[in-house]
């Protein structure tokens, strides 16, 4: 191989660092990936990779109970927006028997009467709460707060421990009342 050819090959490999193997069907019109992205490992993305899927994928280790969650709800200031015992304050009640039916199309959607997946609670509390300091709760604290809300709504027993195995198995009461609006778009 001539020096020129060898250099070209090195250059090509550098250009296609990420994706030379699947350049054939590239849609960018260049016939090959642009290749300017920096390689990163899943390990290095871990701090951001906190989304929980409904089947429980990505739930972290640890566990929590309603009793601990009830205590945390006051300690972490959740009650400042959601009221003592999560019964409602400046923002909505997290524990309530308010029905969906009879409320019209404007009915208040609650954890009990609407949310289809228990994993949404874990994902959202860990991601966005407490409002002034999101992503500061430990995995155990999130499990406990989820357990507190689910038990308060009588969706699980007071004693049921929430962890990566038990949480996705909780069937939310309204799970089967949804229709996919645009199935052809998926």
């Amino acid at each position: 191989m001539s020096t020129f050819k060898a250099l070209s090959l090195v250059a090509l490999m550098a250009l296609g660092a990420a994706g030379a193997a699947f350049a054939a069907d590239a849609k960018n019109g260049l016939g090959a990936p642009v290749g300017l992205g920096d390689k990163i490992t899943e390990t290095d993305i871990k701090a951001w990779d906190i989304t929980i899927l409904p089947d429980g994928t990505n739930l972290p280790p640890g566990s929590g109970t309603a009793a601990v969650g009830a205590k945390l709800f006051g300690e972490k200031g959740c009650n400042q927006c959601h009221g003592d015992g999560a019964l409602g304050g400046r923002n909505g009640a997290l524990i309530t028997d308010q029905p969906l039916k009879g409320g019209g199309i404007e009915a208040n959607k609650t954890v009990k009467n609407f949310w289809a997946y228990s994993t949404t609670l874990y994902d959202y509390i860990r991601r966005a709460m407490p409002w002034p300091a999101p992503r500061t709760l430990s995995n155990e604290e999130v499990y406990s707060l989820v357990a507190f809300i689910l038990a308060g709504n009588k969706i699980i027993d007071e004693k049921t421990v929430m962890d990566a195995r038990s949480l996705p198995q909780v069937k939310m009461p309204n799970r089967d009342n949804f229709i996919i609006k645009f199935p052809d778009k998926i």
Partner: protein, 444 residues
């Protein structure tokens, strides 16, 4: 902006050609306008019909001395300072903030950047673009991180498209018409030219596992807002936008980068996008599991509502403007469809009994605002103005009775125009004009 009386063309000396009830005139009068206005106006149509005698002209004060200094970043006339968005939470309390576009004070189709609507759930993050990264990972061959500097070297495309909140027009779910301005009712939609890198280009770079069906798009905002998006849309026309109407994105639009999904629900178009993860199932995040999942009259609910369907509304005249006197007015409005291009807009001045085709201002673009106009001579008697759009897929804006049958209306009248009794309203908007020229919001 208000209502302008136009020059000639439809003056009294040319016989009016009414094409529908209550004074709607043929759109022909408007076609070709701007190319040969004088010719189109026709001889004999000179002179105001209702105009009073004008004062003699003279130089004004501002014509007599040097004006003010040119600024590095331009600013608008001090006389236009009341063309503003309406804020739902001006003190920035610990809840969502909305800002609504004043469509009744704008014209054309492009929304100026400072007036583009926005909804933010935790305020505007102050992101240093040099430190921001977009990571694409999950079901891919090679996860990659893209800095802004690197993205700027990728092939770029520009795409004019509207962004609309799923909750835009929500007050029209009210069982009684809410008396509020167009801005209150329909201010959560805007239209801009977005420039950036097609997501398909970046997906090619990472190499997508064919088993991936969805992607999770996460923002770098305080709540790390995340939505699940079908991968089909990503390959179709999704974009990582870096520019908005030619300049870097406004911070409230996702600076330094956001996801744009032409024609789809605004909340899915993640601002400050920092992570895209390819997965085999949707995450059912808070916003898709609760807020943007409309309840139906039988208490089932839609799971996902991707497309903002065909819609139109008259911007002028509209609620609160009032007509001072009978005579000529131009009816003007906005039409758009998340499924394609606007093909036709019909306008009625008699509450939907008779309809006439409006003139469409071209060039029309897919999933973008289209401006329509129709000339109208108001005779001073009560009238109801309404519009109905059709897109190139044959989708027609539903009449209210049909819409309410399918989607329902509230049990009690809506009193808070910032509330969201439901999501994704795309039926008609009607303005009732009484004999005094006062304009109210009505249903037909």
């Amino acid at each position: 902006m208000g209502i302008f009386r136009t020059r000639g063309g439809v003056g009294r000396s040319s016989p009016d050609e009414f094409v529908a009830g209550n004074g709607l005139l043929h759109r022909r009068a408007l076609l070709g306008r701007g190319i040969a206005l004088a010719g189109a106006a026709g001889i004999g149509s000179v002179g105001g019909v209702n105009g009073a005698a004008a004062e003699p002209v003279q130089d004004a004060e501002w014509s007599g001395h040097q004006g003010s200094n040119v600024m590095e970043y331009g600013t608008r006339s001090r006389f236009e300072k009341d063309t503003l968005r309406i804020l739902s939470n001006p003190k920035g309390e610990a809840r969502t903030q909305h800002a609504r576009t004043p469509h009744h004070k704008l014209n054309g189709t492009i929304t100026p950047n400072p007036l583009h609507f926005t909804i933010l759930h935790n305020g505007i993050p102050d992101i240093d673009p040099a430190q921001h990264k977009l990571v694409i990972h999950g079901m891919v061959k090679q996860p990659l991180a893209f800095t802004l500097e690197k993205l700027l070297r990728y092939p770029m495309v520009s795409r004019t498209t509207f962004v609309e909140c799923g909750g835009n027009s929500a007050p029209l779910f009210s069982n009684e018409p809410v008396q509020a301005t167009l801005q209150h009712l329909h201010g959560l939609v805007s239209n801009a030219e977005w420039t950036g890198v097609l997501l398909s280009t970046l997906l090619d770079e990472v190499g997508v596992d064919p088993k991936a069906v969805w992607m999770l798009a996460e923002g770098a905002d305080t709540a790390a807002l995340t939505r699940s998006v079908p991968l089909k849309k990503a390959w179709d026309d999704a974009m990582i936008a870096l520019y908005q109407n030619g300049e870097p994105l406004m911070p409230e639009q996702g600076y330094p980068m956001r996801l744009v999904l032409p024609g789809w629900e605004g909340n899915m178009q993640t601002k400050y996008v920092r992570r895209i993860k390819l997965v085999d199932q949707p995450a059912m995040t808070y916003y898709e599991a609760r807020n943007y999942s409309p309840v139906l009259p039988d208490y089932t609910a839609y799971k996902f509502y991707f497309v903002n369907e065909v819609k139109s509304f008259i911007t002028s005249p509209s609620f609160g403007m009032g007509l001072k006197e009978p005579g000529y007015y131009e009816i003007s409005g906005i039409a758009y469809s998340g499924s394609g291009r606007i093909e036709r807009v019909m306008v009625s001045a008699d509450g939907g009994k008779t309809w006439a085709d409006a003139a469409i201002q071209g060039p029309t673009m897919h999933k973008a605002f289209t401006r329509f106009h129709i000339p109208w001579r108001w005779d001073g008697s009560p009238a109801i103005l309404t519009s109905r759009a059709v897109d190139d897929g044959g989708n027609i804006q539903p009449l209210r009775a049909d819409f309410v049958k399918a989607r329902g209306e509230t049990l009690k009248p809506v009193t808070n125009t910032f509330g969201f009794p439901n999501q994704h309203y795309n039926s008609l908007t009607s303005w009732g004009i009484d004999a005094k020229g006062e304009i109210k919001h009505v249903y037909v």
